[in-house]
Symmetry: C2
Subunit: 342 residues, 2 copies
């Protein structure tokens, strides 16, 4: 049995869902994985850098009534909370990945396994952060960044060795899925945004999704880690969905080739990667043609498997939280086989 001190940087919807999931699965973690845990630090913009000598009560934390000490910054906080594991789920800063990169760097340097739900640090600082993790003998993982928690990074890291990836495509963004489907039903762009906001998938300002940046960041993160190619957002041809007329969308759906905000990456003969995110008509018979609503999917072309599609249907907050939990368990557990249980 090993006991892990857990800290959260960011404690919004995803962080709170993760705390609830950890509590709900604590017996299974203990019995099947030999994992016990306690939360010793939580940092948010509102609360500041809060830490405790003793385990913070999860119910009190979720209710906002816990009594903890406030520290002046991340390094003092890390020194006090002494995390074995840090979950970083701060709001996205897509321009440059800050301050998330700084938080992840400090967490890894303190010797904690570090897991993030943010794409930007993968795009802008993967090499540096992963190198710190290797030096520290810890892991830096981020499975929830692309398809919430459907395996993408771990798929290639753990299950598909020695494959050559020829390219991938994907439907990576729920907000645009929902806006396009709302417009296909004859309603307006603004009504589509409202639907996506009501479902909790769109931000107050939906530009990041609508203009394709969210999908571009996912393409770059996958390219960086899985294709081992340092693709930056500026290298991706990007076109959002604002220019699409609802009559065009309706006609496309009627002919069985609805528009999606579609991501594509192709590995060229010289090893470089050409990528785009733009509205494309995808036949409903296409591997990704049935991905609707909040569902997300990726399709890979491999030398040894002509096509491999992973679809995550209607992922929810708990799914995103599970991506972080899976990172934690995978980082600290031997495989079932190694532990003799499989």
């Amino acid at each position: 049995m090993r006991r892990f001190r857990l800290c959260f940087i960011g404690f919004g919807n995803v962080g709170r869902a993760l705390a609830r999931l950890l509590a709900a699965k604590s017996a299974e973690l203990r019995d099947n994985y030999g994992i016990e845990w306690e939360i010793t630090g939580v940092a948010t913009r509102r609360m500041g850098w809060r830490a405790s000598d003793e385990a913070i009560d999860v119910s009190a934390l979720l209710a906002g009534t816990e009594q903890t000490q406030t520290h002046t910054g991340i390094n003092e906080w890390l020194a006090y909370a002494k995390p074995d594991v840090v979950f970083e789920t701060t709001s996205l800063s897509p321009e440059n990945g800050q301050p998330a990169i700084e938080y992840l760097r400090a967490s890894l340097q303190s010797g904690a396994h570090t897991f993030t739900a943010n794409k930007a640090p993968i795009v802008y600082a993967y090499d540096e952060l992963n190198q710190i993790a290797i030096t520290q003998g810890k892991r830096f993982l981020f499975e929830s960044t692309v398809l919430d928690s459907a395996p993408v990074f771990s798929l290639f890291r753990e299950t598909l060795p020695a494959v050559k990836i020829r390219g991938f495509s994907g439907v990576f963004n729920s907000t645009t899925n929902i806006i396009l489907e709302t417009m296909e039903a004859g309603r307006s762009f603004a009504e589509g945004v409202k639907s996506a906001q009501e479902l909790g998938v769109a931000e107050t300002d939906p530009s990041h999704d609508v203009d394709g940046w969210d999908s571009v960041m996912k393409v770059c993160a996958i390219a960086r880690v899985v294709l081992k190619t340092p693709l930056l957002p500026i290298h991706v041809r990007r076109e959002g969905i604002r220019g699409l007329d609802h009559r065009v969308l309706q006609a496309a759906r009627a002919e069985g080739k609805p528009f999606k905000l579609f991501a594509r990456a192709t590995v060229n003969a010289d090893g470089s990667v050409t990528a785009s995110v733009r509205p494309e008509q995808i036949a409903t018979t296409d591997p990704l043609g049935n991905v609707r609503g909040t569902s997300l999917a990726i399709h890979f072309e491999l030398d040894t498997i002509p096509g491999l599609t992973i679809v995550s249907h209607r992922p929810n907050l708990q799914s995103t939280a599970y991506g972080l939990l899976a990172d934690f368990i995978n980082a600290v557990s031997p495989t079932d086989q190694q532990s003799g249980k499989y």
Copy 2:
């Protein structure tokens, strides 16, 4: 660098494709995984138990011109060929898994990592074979048995810890896919069988596929390993596709709900599993509604991910062979992260 002695039991289409794939990927195996290999034994019904002191030349083996010694049975053969790794790809014996189970037992007991493309030994002898592997400190893996090489077993073993599986469904059989699609196009059952045979997916006697046994065995293998429930073929409600009239199939396709030979397994509240394999109408908007031709797919319902679908599009012989190669690499390699490369 580690050098592995490889042996093949069965050397038909899959075994030969694997030998070619090993040869094609040998530089990558050496450079990226520190794996060198040589083949020291091959057994087939026609050739008998052949082994060599020295590496068998792969080209000569594929051409049928290699010079090797013949041995009288598997134990003498294993003692002479001294495999580190055995690939078992003999013809299927669905009734009881023999003689494959005997071969796998002997291979594991000799201390070899052992990988099979046969489902029946998983259904009838998984516990025993896996226990021998654990005792020997070796691995018994079989990724190619369900979706050729798309990850199913490794997905749960390596990437999705601590999930609760509520059930799964699948389109597991290419032969019936092709027969049904041929009949939808107005042609006969016999023409469908012929198409499937020409594509190399159906046996001379297609009964095993057509009557649902192939899909039933896959359901039982997944239940046994992933759900940890010893489901036997006799427990699965089974109905093949012989009773379907082509007019019924055409009408179903026309209304957008074509028939598939569909597999389902549901985990009941008491932990038992209810499973069926039978023709069902699947809407083309369903997660598995677009699985056509030789493509195969599985859909899981999990507590933490509402739906997770894996589709393998048009897998070929090399895909099946790759499933065995992936087992080999995964068995003998630390993860990339552990080796400091990821």
